[in-house]
Point group: C2
């Protein structure tokens, strides 16, 4: 999106799995940049990166780092965002935050541009980027909600390891090599690095992403439940989630059951609607074995939808399969897309 | 289960992934055997196997192979069963068939011993062993149906590659090695060997198991739907399934949402019931990160259940996570268990 004016953009968490995708996405989108600041923890500061062919030194993220910054993309963990995002705002930057730090704050818009770009108009300096697994689901559900009304959603996820960071992907690869050589797999990171128990992810499925809440759901599951209602402005929507980690590097998949408010809708009606929906690519032809899969979505910004079929018992019930690159639409691309939309709406001073 | 009398047992498909587990299970259960016949296709005939320390030559399965056989365990594909199971019955054998050939025939019991052992009494020579993904689900659901009534089930599966045979597991391992070495993954078997398109399963998830029906569901999904109703004698049960293949060698997992007929049931009530249920091992303590996982269920006969929690919107709705070794309870063990139950009920002449 070339523009007359260039912006000073900061990427916080520039060495992380998502941060690196943010940098690539800013490049590939030809984002109007006058200056880029790549920020990280003290540990990674001093490393070099390349942006648009120019070498850039990564600097430690401090309050002063945001002097003169127009747009700051944060993806360095919630505790960093809590401390530094207000400092960036104080210095005049708009923050797009890809952590859970502010997502459920009433004053902070939680935005998926295809769904609720208008919420950006009410920002107070910080815009939250939703959880990866939430984003791809609401992109697929919002056109259905708008046209037919949406009553209930039950989702089971098939989530990739890169959602837990680059170190988790390396661990999965090491475990996989070990098992193929008949050795023991060592587990130190998944499901949650800071908890006591770690389980092998190679050739396994772990039904825990993030910590558990008192109600038996995980934080990841509650994020999907609460964020979906907020993004869609639909607090009475019934949502339930089961979130599972798979031995897949990148690409989240979701088995979604949903009930509409409207009678008489066919699977063909839903396919027609989603074929034209923003951000969605319909891949749905069982006769040709066409449906989305994570291994084939990597590096693409879209949300892929297939296996759309009507429930056999509930006239208003349907099933579908939703896949997207969790590092792109689930994180980096959605953040950059928010930044682009802020510029288009004239909201970056 | 030592018995006074020994039986002549035949295993048809003795060289396959399930057949090999059947042989191991007969050994480990100390099944009362006077003679064992290991049968296969002409291609594998002549190979040697060891049963209870004795070398046994594998023979080509023919109608005459069943002369004198008391119990025949079939797992060599539906077309073999259709031809040879009636021949075995004609010669006085009871057949336990682990293919889909007869499962939905009205005259043929479809049996999971924990659920409907009584149906064995009405057999006409052939007993069908249900689909692997159905078995583990009904073992977990039947105690709930009996005590609270069951209205609706929505399941998303996470199925292991060994369900598609030993060659598919080898292919997954070869693909995995290739990808880790930066090479292309070659796909020739999954999702369905006989169809045109084959997709990589390594580091991927494939939302197709078996062929598609006209209604958009796969045969595997329709098996789960129809078999569940038949086994539970509950034709009005609402069931929907989405079946997905994962890069897991052995161990099927299932994310199961269900609605009871009864109000006022708590997650604790369900845990108490399942802790005592036949064939079920409860692994459910989020505070200790205890829940079932496929990598840790391999080689065990039980159905492992965890992540039991109440739906946040529906008073009668619950979620759970069900894991079992698809080659054992899903196939070989359930078949041998049917044979043991036939003997206990005095149904083997």
């Amino acid at each position: 999106m070339p523009q007359e004016r260039g912006f000073h953009v900061a990427v916080v968490g520039a060495t992380g799995a998502v941060g690196q995708q943010m940098i690539k996405t800013l490049e590939s989108r030809d984002f109007p940049i006058s200056k880029i600041s790549l920020l990280s923890s003290a540990r990674s500061a001093g490393k070099k990166a390349v942006f648009n062919g120019q070498e850039v030194t990564i600097e430690e993220a401090k309050p002063e780092s945001f002097e003169g910054v127009d747009i700051a993309l944060f993806s360095a963990g919630g505790s960093i965002s809590k401390v530094l995002a207000p400092e960036a705002v104080k210095r005049g930057a708009i923050v797009v935050d890809n952590t859970s730090a502010f997502r459920m704050d009433q004053d902070i818009p939680l935005v998926v541009p295809e769904v609720n770009a208008d919420d950006l108009k009410n920002h107070n300096g910080i815009i939250a980027n939703p959880n990866c697994s939430t984003i791809q689901m609401v992109v697929a559900l919002e056109p259905l909600r708008q046209k037919f009304g949406l009553k209930k959603v039950i989702v089971s996820t098939y989530q990739a390891v890169s959602g837990a960071g680059a170190a988790a992907v390396s661990e999965m690869e090491e475990q996989t090599r070990a098992i193929l050589e008949g050795k023991e797999a060592e587990a130190k990171i998944l499901p949650v690095g800071s908890l006591d128990k770690h389980y092998q992810i190679a050739f396994n499925a772990i039904p825990q992403i993030d910590k558990f809440e008192e109600n038996g759901f995980t934080f990841e599951e509650m994020k999907m439940i609460n964020e979906t209602k907020k993004i869609m402005h639909h607090p009475e929507l019934e949502v339930a989630a089961t979130c599972v980690r798979l031995p897949v590097g990148t690409g989240h998949s979701e088995s979604v059951y949903f009930e509409l408010d409207t009678d008489g809708v066919s699977a063909a009606d839903i396919k027609t609607l989603l074929a034209e929906a923003p951000g969605v690519v319909l891949q749905d032809d069982p006769s040709q074995q066409i449906y989305p899969m994570p291994a084939y979505c990597v590096g693409k910004n879209d949300v892929f939808v297939g296996r759309i079929r009507k429930d056999l018992d509930n006239e208003k019930g349907f099933h579908m399969w939703v896949v997207s690159d969790n590092l792109l639409k689930g994180a980096a691309w959605n953040s950059v897309q928010i930044a682009e939309t802020l510029i288009e709406l004239g909201l970056v001073k």
